[in-house]
């Protein structure tokens, strides 16, 4: 076939042609991991579409052959470079005809050129002519029965870098409910008790993908009637202290060498390494997305009026924020919202004011005046006044920097970024 590839362990083409997501699915196949049947319409097809303003000749015949045996599918975008949330996804599409498949592929391809996607590419130095692939995949249903569910998992804790699986699971739901934050998820470990076989399959998968990528990884999974399926994999891309810990641990585990560990940590990671954090062993009440780093403790104010009126530090807790909340935002020590992502009104204002903020925590019942602490790095919410630490990776950082000094041969007193930069200069020579 010219425009389409069936995804299997035998595909050996690049992420440039298949897109990053499909390339990851091929890697999962090669690792012998369970992936729902899928084919990809390549980025080259999309480039032809963008150039000519219509889908290329011959695609309809190829699609007619490819869709044979498929029933209900998802059609997702997958560019060579990650552009999260910028393009269209179609779920639960019944493949009743080739026309339905063509139309879905065209919907995904045309979403490459929405103004928002163009802006994203401009800001992230992504060429406009790259194009996206479209992945057509058999739907697996996390809401099939009581032994079905869905979730996301990291092979290591993205907040600390500790070598323990981390993530969220949602019993009896489809995957988009996790990503959208519409439903309250449970910590991944809840899977161990409820579905031991799925849990052990997931642990095995996480260890295999780590060995393949030689890095902490992220996967999206669904299990249907007790059977585990993997839907996406990528390297974890951790920040701050977690990046330092993972690089150092991987070198100690012999997965990568010390030179590579040093190259994986950017001097920019060091900027956030001493941002105050809630101590890792504290009891987490809820978790959202960190929108502005730092820790804030205060009494809950559920309206701006209360935030202005109450004495002492307050955490403004709102479903989402609007201009009406400006006084409350100004009066608060920290900001917590039920809805919204890292580009929501609350997140933009919190950063403008330099206040710790957690967004998208879901429906959380906190009564007025309750003492809470929020961590704007990890998105954690804790009752009361937990222990605060200024680095979770000090020992790892010191080890990594001693390797840096060995590489540069300079053991003089300098700041941490200079020590790392000197080592990078030698390694990249």
């Amino acid at each position: 076939m010219k425009w389409i590839r069936q995804l299997s362990a035998d595909v050996d083409e690049s992420a440039d042609l298949l897109g990053g997501k499909a390339h990851g699915l091929v890697a999962l196949h090669r690792l012998g991991l369970p992936v729902p049947a899928a084919f990809v319409v390549t980025t080259e097809t999309c480039r032809a579409y963008l150039r000519d303003g219509r889908l290329p000749d011959g695609l309809d015949e190829e699609l007619a052959a490819a869709v044979a045996g498929f029933d209900v599918v998802s059609v997702r975008s997958g560019a060579p470079v990650s552009m999260p949330g910028m393009m269209n996804t179609i779920l639960n599409l019944e493949l009743t005809s080739v026309a339905a498949a063509l139309s879905a592929v065209e919907t995904v391809f045309s979403s490459w050129n929405t103004p928002r996607a163009q802006t994203y590419r401009e800001l992230h130095d992504i060429p406009h002519d790259l194009g996206t692939a479209a992945i057509v995949q058999r739907m697996v249903f996390g809401d099939r029965d009581e032994h079905s569910g869905t979730g996301v998992a990291f092979s290591r804790d993205p907040n600390t870098g500790a070598h323990v699986p981390f993530g969220d699971v949602l019993f009896g739901h489809q995957g988009d409910d996790v990503v959208s934050g519409r439903s309250q998820t449970l910590p991944l470990s809840a899977l161990a008790e409820r579905e031991p076989a799925v849990w052990s399959g997931l642990l095995d998968a996480l260890s295999r993908v780590e060995a393949h990528y030689r890095d902490a990884c992220y996967v999206e999974f669904t299990y249907e009637s007790g059977e585990l399926w993997l839907l996406q994999v990528r390297p974890g891309k951790f920040g701050g202290a977690a990046a330092i810990r993972v690089a150092t641990d991987l070198a100690d585990e012999g997965v990568i060498d010390r030179r590579e560990a040093l190259l994986r940590v950017s001097p920019h990671h060091l900027q956030h390494v001493r941002t105050p954090r809630i101590a890792p062993d504290e009891n987490v009440l809820a978790r959202g997305l960190g929108a502005c780093p730092g820790v804030a403790t205060g009494r809950v104010a559920t309206t701006s009026e209360a935030a202005v009126r109450m004495n002492g530090p307050v955490i403004l807790v709102r479903p989402e924020t609007s201009p009406h909340d400006m006084r409350g935002l100004a009066a608060a020590t920290g900001i917590l919202t039920a809805r919204g992502g890292p580009a929501s009104h609350a997140a933009v204002v919190a950063r403008a004011m330099g206040k710790p903020a957690v967004v998208g925590v879901g429906e959380l019942v906190l009564s007025e005046g309750t003492l809470v602490t929020i961590d704007g790095t990890s998105g954690e919410v804790v009752l009361g006044e937990p222990r605060i630490v200024t680095t979770t990776a000090d020992a790892h950082l010191q080890r990594l920097l001693s390797w840096a000094d060995d590489v540069s041969g300079d053991h003089s007193e300098r700041d941490e970024a200079q020590r790392l930069t000197a080592a990078h200069a030698v390694l990249r020579r």
């Binding site: 928002r116 802006t119 950017s266 201009p323 009104h345 403008a352």
Partner: protein
């Protein structure tokens, strides 16, 4: 054009609690004129002044009066279909505006998100360039709105001014200050919800 007292009343509805400077910027009136309207509205029991902070806000009666008069204005101008269509356009633009504000505050360097310290002119120029492109499309929606109801015309002027202030070096005027593009855009969002009677 809407009556001056309605413009001041509705500005408080969209901005929340505010002082004279903010309300003057929102309505385009001089501060003494805003104050005069506010005093009349206070006498009618529609607004109240917080003496400790010198700021004004709507009373419950003021909120009800605003809903009534704004709805009357919308229906008597037969503007609901046009405002609804423009609101759909606004909702397409809204995530992009928030992306752009975020890009002004944060940038990815070596795969790490860091605060944008505005020391890289080429990065800032790229964001501003996209912002200018965004504004051209936003201005179309604002123009549609001001054809439907003239009071919406103020947003187009204020957004353009905020962008111009940023271009001339006032870096907080894009995403950070209370007079920023982001703040004005959020007011417009609130105004559209209030005008169409859509709850948050």
């Amino acid at each position: 054009m809407s009556a001056p007292d309605l413009l001041v009343l509705h500005a408080l509805r969209c901005v929340g609690t505010a002082g004279l400077t903010r309300l003057a910027a929102t309505t385009g009136f001089e501060e003494p004129d805003v104050e005069s309207e506010l005093i009349d509205l206070a006498v009618a029991g529609l607004v109240t002044r917080n003496a400790d902070f010198g700021v004004w806000s709507l009373t419950e009666a003021g909120k009800a009066e605003d809903v009534k008069r704004i709805t009357d204005e919308l229906e008597s101008a037969a503007a609901r279909p046009a405002v609804t269509a423009a609101f759909d356009g606004f909702l397409v633009l809204n995530p992009e505006l928030l992306d752009l504000c975020t890009a002004w505050q944060l940038r990815s360097v070596d795969g790490v998100m860091i605060a944008n310290d505005h020391r890289d002119p080429s990065y800032d120029a790229r964001v501003l360039n996209r912002f200018a492109d965004f504004h051209r499309r936003a201005a179309v929606v604002c123009a549609e709105l001001s054809v439907a109801l003239r009071r919406f015309g103020r947003y187009r002027v204020r957004l353009a001014e905020a962008l111009d202030r940023t271009k001339s070096g006032e870096l907080a005027e894009l995403a950070d200050s209370t007079s920023s593009y982001h703040a004005i855009w959020a007011e417009l969002h609130e105004d559209l919800l209030a005008t169409l009677g859509i709850p948050r």
